[in-house]
Every structure is written in structure tokens, then in C-alpha cells.
């Protein structure tokens, strides 16, 4: 059943979201983001199996490739930022980065 795969994806996404919101370690936050993206990827793949009247093609798969590329780029840039920040502030705690506090 496709809906089970979707439920699984939703669960991954929600757990990832919890990680993003509830953790203060930037590295773990970035990892949780990857988890959320994984959930999204599963949705793409699962939904590409739903018949929709025209001839079916795995377009969802192509999109997953794109997401993977974006994720790789994001992790590269994000980790670079983490390194730069750690270099200047000696911390990976996201709450120490409150430079926009009102």
C-alpha cells in the first residue's frame, strides 16, 4: 500500500523536524535536515507509482536525484559555515549565534 510508505515518510519527516527544532548542536540539526529530506524523497518515489491516466514515467526518481544534489550542496555549505563559526566563536550551539536578537 502506497499510503504506508507515505506514513513512513511522514514519520521520518516529523522526527527530523523534531531534531531540527529541539536540538542545539548545529551538526545534529544538519543531520536532522538530511532525515527530513529523506522523508521527502520517499514521498517522491512512492507517489510516482500512483497511476494518473497518462503513460507513467519515473519522473519522481529524477526529482529525487535533484534533491540529493541539493542536499549534498547544502551539507557542503552548511558544514563550511559550521567550521567558520566554530573558528570564530568556539561553539556549535545554535543559541550562541543570536546575532539577530531583537
Amino acid at each position: 500500500m502506497i499510503s504506508y510508505y507515505l506514513l513512513f515518510a511522514a514519520a521520518l519527516f516529523s522526527i527530523g523536524a523534531y531534531g531540527v527544532l529541539a536540538r542545539r548542536n548545529v551538526l545534529i540539526i544538519l543531520m536532522s535536515l538530511e532525515l527530513m529530506l529523506n522523508g521527502v524523497n520517499i514521498v517522491f518515489v512512492a507517489l510516482s507509482l500512483v497511476p494518473h491516466g497518462v503513460q507513467m514515467a519515473p519522473g519522481g526518481h529524477v526529482f529525487v536525484l535533484m534533491v540529493m544534489a541539493v542536499a549534498a550542496a547544502e551539507v557542503a555549505v552548511g558544514l563550511a559555515i559550521v567550521i567558520a563559526l566554530f573558528r570564530t566563536r568556539q561553539t556549535v550551539d545554535i543559541n550562541d549565534l543570536q546575532m539577530m536578537s531583537g
Partner: protein, 172 residues
């Protein structure tokens, strides 16, 4: 119900929960690795063998290595990890995320068009050939744009992560 999917999803969810709750990022990374592999298995069960392979290559091969590399580079001691939120903060967030999950579940389960078997329409579904044809014909332009994005991200990561030249000169 595909037993492979059941096992894989159970493993993936368990490792995901462990990942977000581990205090040490190294443990988190290990659990994330397990989770990635389980998701790759899920791709296989969704008739996406090419994606499963690519997933292992990109996530476990590239992204995980990058994470572990950075963790080692920072070489955080346990006392440098910093405080985490208390339970009073984390519990409402967990409730919120659960609510989001409940909302999504309700949306998924209330749609009858999704209550169909996850069966591929043909034997070559999700093969390298099929996805490759699609990628280089229909989605050629997005593909090129994505490559551009990766190049920009590469340069950006370089610029961000390298020490300032003046700092290097000053320290050397």
C-alpha cells in the same frame, strides 16, 4: 505488505529516533548512517533500484563522510558539546511534531487513491536506463542547473571554510 519494507522502515525509524536524541554527534552520525541504509532498502522495495544505489553512494558515501570529517575536524570534547534544551522545551516541540505527523497521517489515510499496492507498472521501472533517458531528455535543463548549483556550493564551501589569507600569514 512487503516484509522487507516493514523491517527496513522499523530500522529506519528506530535509528532516526536514536539519531535525534543522541547527545554526542558521532553517535548520531552512526545512527544516521543506519537510517540512510534502511531508506535505501525502502527505495528498493518501491521498485527504485537505481535510486537505492545512488542513495547509498551520495548519502553514505559523500554526505556521511563529510559529516564525520567535520566532526573529527572540530574534535569536540564532551564538555564542549554545550547544553541542550530542558525537557520542558523539548516536550512541546515533540507534541508539535506529533501533531504535524497526525495531520499528515490523517491526510494520507483519508485519500482513497493512495490505498493501492505499491507495484511497478513494468519490469524496467526505475532502472538506470529509464531514469537516465528521462534525466537527459525531458529534464536536461534542470540537470544542468543543478550541476551549476553544485559548483556554486563547492566554491561557497571553499570560501567559507578556508582561513583568511591574512590570518594565515599572521599565524605563520
Amino acid at each position: 505488505m512487503d516484509p522487507i519494507f516493514l523491517i527496513a522502515s522499523a530500522v529506519a525509524l528506530a535509528s532516526a529516533v536514536n539519531m535525534v536524541t543522541q547527545r554526542n554527534p558521532v553517535y548520531s552520525a552512526v545512527f544516521l548512517l543506519v537510517g540512510f541504509l534502511a531508506v535505501a532498502v525502502t527505495f528498493l522495495s518501491l521498485s527504485a533500484p537505481f535510486l537505492a544505489a545512488i542513495h547509498v553512494v551520495v548519502y553514505t558515501g559523500a554526505i556521511m563522510v563529510l559529516f564525520l570529517f567535520v566532526i573529527m575536524l572540530l574534535n569536540l570534547k564532551p564538555e564542549e558539546l554545550g547544553a541542550e534544551y530542558p525537557i520542558e522545551t523539548r516536550a512541546p516541540i515533540a507534541v508539535l511534531c506529533a501533531a504535524m505527523f497526525g495531520m499528515m497521517s490523517w491526510a494520507i489515510l483519508s485519500d482513497p487513491s493512495l490505498a493501492i499496492p505499491a507495484k511497478a507498472p513494468n519490469a524496467t521501472w526505475g532502472s538506470v536506463e529509464e531514469v537516465g533517458l528521462l534525466l537527459f531528455n525531458v529534464y536536461a535543463l534542470p540537470f544542468e542547473l543543478i550541476s551549476l548549483l553544485i559548483i556554486v556550493a563547492m566554491f561557497g564551501a571553499l570560501v567559507l571554510a578556508k582561513k583568511r589569507l591574512s590570518n594565515v600569514e599572521a599565524t605563520s
